[in-house]
Symmetry: C2
Subunit: 479 residues, 2 copies
Amino acid sequence: MADNKKMVEQITDMEQDFAQWYTDVCTKADLIGYTSVKGMFILRPYGYAIWENIQREMDARFKATGHTNVAMPLLIPESLLQKEKDHVEGFAPECAWVTMGGSEKLDERLCVRPTSETLFCEHWSQIVHSWRDLPLLYNQWCSVLRWEKTTRPFLRHREFLWQEGHTLHATAQEAIEETERMLNVYADVCENILAMPVVKGIKTDKEKFAGAERTYTIECMMHDRKALQNGTSHYFGDGFAKAFGITFTDKDNVQKTPFETSWGFTTRTIGGVIMTHGDNSGLVLPPKVAPIQVVVIPVAGHKPGVMEANQAVVDALTAAGFRVKMDASDKAPGWKFAEYEMKGVPLRLELGPKDMEKNQCVLVRRDNGEESFVSLDGIEKTVADTLQAVHDGLFAKAKRNLDEHCYPAFSLEEAKALQLERGGFIKTMWCGDADCEERMKAEAGMSSRCIPFDQEHLADVCPICGKPAKHMVYWGVAY
Amino acid sequence: MADNKKMVEQITDMEQDFAQWYTDVCTKADLIGYTSVKGMFILRPYGYAIWENIQREMDARFKATGHTNVAMPLLIPESLLQKEKDHVEGFAPECAWVTMGGSEKLDERLCVRPTSETLFCEHWSQIVHSWRDLPLLYNQWCSVLRWEKTTRPFLRHREFLWQEGHTLHATAQEAIEETERMLNVYADVCENILAMPVVKGIKTDKEKFAGAERTYTIECMMHDRKALQNGTSHYFGDGFAKAFGITFTDKDNVQKTPFETSWGFTTRTIGGVIMTHGDNSGLVLPPKVAPIQVVVIPVAGHKPGVMEANQAVVDALTAAGFRVKMDASDKAPGWKFAEYEMKGVPLRLELGPKDMEKNQCVLVRRDNGEESFVSLDGIEKTVADTLQAVHDGLFAKAKRNLDEHCYPAFSLEEAKALQLERGGFIKTMWCGDADCEERMKAEAGMSSRCIPFDQEHLADVCPICGKPAKHMVYWGVAY
C-alpha cells in the first residue's frame, strides 16, 4: 500500500514535525474546522461522531452508577462565581463575559460558564433539606468556555465539549468514594474503549482544581512522550457547601453540611486518541469509538454479482451491529485505501470476483497493515475478533510506549537530562513542598503529573531539596 | 383515589387559573428549577429525562434520513451575524453579547448564538467546492440564547435546548423536499411519540423566520385552546448562500449557488406536552417519553414473599425494555399514588398478598384512572398493550379537543367573537395582505398560525378587506 499512502492528502511525517503532523490529521481527516473566532473550533461530522461514541459509553456508565443528567444554565452571575474564593481566583482570569442583553447593558455581568460548581451549589441550596434528599448524583453534557491565550484543536479550545458530574453526599467518606469511583469509570473508558493506558494518581496542591480539597487524575502518555491529563475527579470536602449555605437535617436530627464532588471528561481526549494511536498515514481509531469500523471496498464492482456479494456482507455486518460503510464510488482503489487509512478506519474489507469463487474476502488491519484472506462464512465472528485484536494491539503498543518511557531519577540534573534525552515520565521522590515543584518546572521544564496510586520507594529524600521524601511523583511535559 | 390526589403537593386547579396550574406542574413535578438569572431555567433530572427520550426518538429519525451531527461554536462575531440583512434584523434585538474575554475588552463583540445559520454558512463557504460535496445534511443539539422580556418555564426561556438542522443542496427542488421531509419528521414525533395532534402548514410572510423564503410549521392546540408552534422548518432559497458567497461547480461545469434549509425543535415541546395532556392531579406523560413508564408499588410489603414477587415483576418488565421504578419506601400508599400521579407516570402496578394468591396484579392507568386486575402471566404483553392504549387515549382526547375547537368565521367580528367565547383555531379566507393580518391581531387578538396544507374553500373573499381570497388561514392566540 506504500505507494497509495500519500495520494489523498499529503500530511507531514510525525518524526519531522509532530505538531504539524497533529494539525494535519485534525484537518485532513475532517475532524476539525476553523472559524473566525480564535480557539473556537467546529467539530465536523466525523470528529463529532467519535465524541458521540465516547458519550454513549460514558453515559451508560454514569447511569449504571446511579447518576442522572440535568441541564444547568450557560451563564453565571459574577456575584455567584465569587462565592467560593479559590474557585473564582482560578477561573475569573479566563472567563468570557456577557455584558449586554439585546440593546441593554446588564446590571450585573454574566460569565459564560467555565465550569458549573457554583450553579449546582445555588440549586442545591434551594432543594436540599433532609438526609433523604441525599446523595444527589448529577451530570450534564454541555460546552464550557475558557478564554485561553494559546489554542490547539481538541487539546485547548476556548470552547470545548465535556461532561461535568456534580454530586452531593451526607458524609465525607461517601464523597471520597464517589470521587474515586468516577476516576475508575474514566480509566475504564480510556483503557477498554479508547485503548489508552493510564496512570492513576492524585494531583499536587499546586496542580489541583480551583476550590478542590483533592484532585484525582488519569495521565496518558502520547506518542511524542508528552503527557496528557485525560480526566479529573475532584473532592471538595464541605468547602463549597459552606460557601453556598447548603445544609441538611441528618438522621440524628442535627443540621449538617454535606460534601461535594465534581468530575469532568472532555473532547481533548480525542486529541489524545490521535496522538496515542496515529501514524504517518493519518488517524488510527480504536474500534469501539470509530464512526466507521469496517469499510467495504468492492473490487471489480462492474463484474456480475460483485456488488450484490459486497452488499450482502455489508448487510450481514450491519445486522450484527457493526458500523459499516461501503465505498462503491468510481474512485481508484488506491485512493480509497489511502482515504480510509487517513480516517483511521480499523478494518478494510475487499471483495472481488476471485474472492467470491473461493467464498472469501480480504481483511486489512489499520493498526499494523496485516492482510488476511478469511472465509465469508461466519464473517461477523471474524470481524468481531479482528476488531478486538486491533483494540488489543493498540493498547499493547501504547502500554509499551508508556512502560518504556518511565524513568526514575535521583537528582534534579538527572531528571532534566532524562526528559531532554528520552522524554516520557520521570519519577522521583518528593518532599511535598511547592518550592521543589517550582524548581522542577523552572529548571527541568516539567510539571508534576501526579502522585501515582502505585507508589515506589526510590529513595528516602527529595532529590531537589534533600529533605525527607513524602511521595513518589511522576513528572512530565504536559499538553 | 380522589382523597389522595392532593396529598403530595397542592396544585391549582386548571379551571381556576390555567397559568398557575401550569407553573405548579412545572415546579412540583420537579421538572424545572429557577436560577438567579431571569429566564434561565434548570432542567431538573425528571424534566431532562423527558428531553433525552425526545432526543433519542428525533436523533434516530435524523440519522435514518441521512443526517449527521456536528458541533458549531457558541459565539458569533457581530460582523458575521450581519451578513444576511433580514436575519440580523430579526435576531439582533434579542442577542446577548460577550464583550470581554478574561480581563480584555474584545475588538469585536460576539453574540451568544440565537441560531446558527451564519456559522454553518461560513463553514460551508470554506468546504463546498463541487456537486460531489452536496447535499450536506447537518444537525446539532445545543442550547441557544434569546434575550426575551417575558419568560415562562419551557415556553419561553432566555436559554433553551434544541436541535437545529442545517442542510445545503444543489437544487431548490431538493431543498424544498428536505424542508417538507423534516416537517413530517416533526409531525411524526409529535403525533406518534408525544400523542400531540398537529396542523401542518406554511407561515405567512409576517410570521416566517428571519431570512427564510418559506417557513413550514406544525401547530398544536393546548388544553386551554391556545396555540403552540411546535417545530418549524425553513426553506431559504439561495439567499444565505449568496450572502456568504457559497458556490459549487455543478456536473455541467458551471459555477452555481446552492440552496439551504434549517429546521428546529425545542424543549418548549415539553410545555406543550404538559398543557395538552395534564390534568388537576398534575402531569400526564405520553408513555413513549415518560422517564418512568410503570411504577410498581408493593402492597403490604412486610408480608412473606411480597417484595420478592414485586421484584420479579420489575425484573421481567425491565428485561422487556420498559422503564420501571419500584417504590418500596415506607411512605403511605396514598402518598405514593398521588406522587406518581403528579409526576404523570402512565401506569401504576400494585401487587400484594391477595393478588399473589390469584397470580394477578392491579394496573391503574394515569390518563383515565381505569383500574384492572390482570394476570401476572404475560405481564410484559399486557403492559405493552396498556401503554399503547394510554398513548392512543391521550392522542384521541387531544385530537377531539383540536377538532371540536376549529371554527370557520366569515367576518372579523365573528372571528373575534368566536375566539372570545370559545377559543381555539378560527379559520377564515385571506387575501394574503399583511394589513389584514395586522387588523386581525389588533382587533381580535389573534395571529395567523398557518396556511394549512389541508385547504378548504370557505368563501371567495377575505372577510377582513373584501378582496379576493388567496388562502384559508388558521388564526389563534399563541403561546
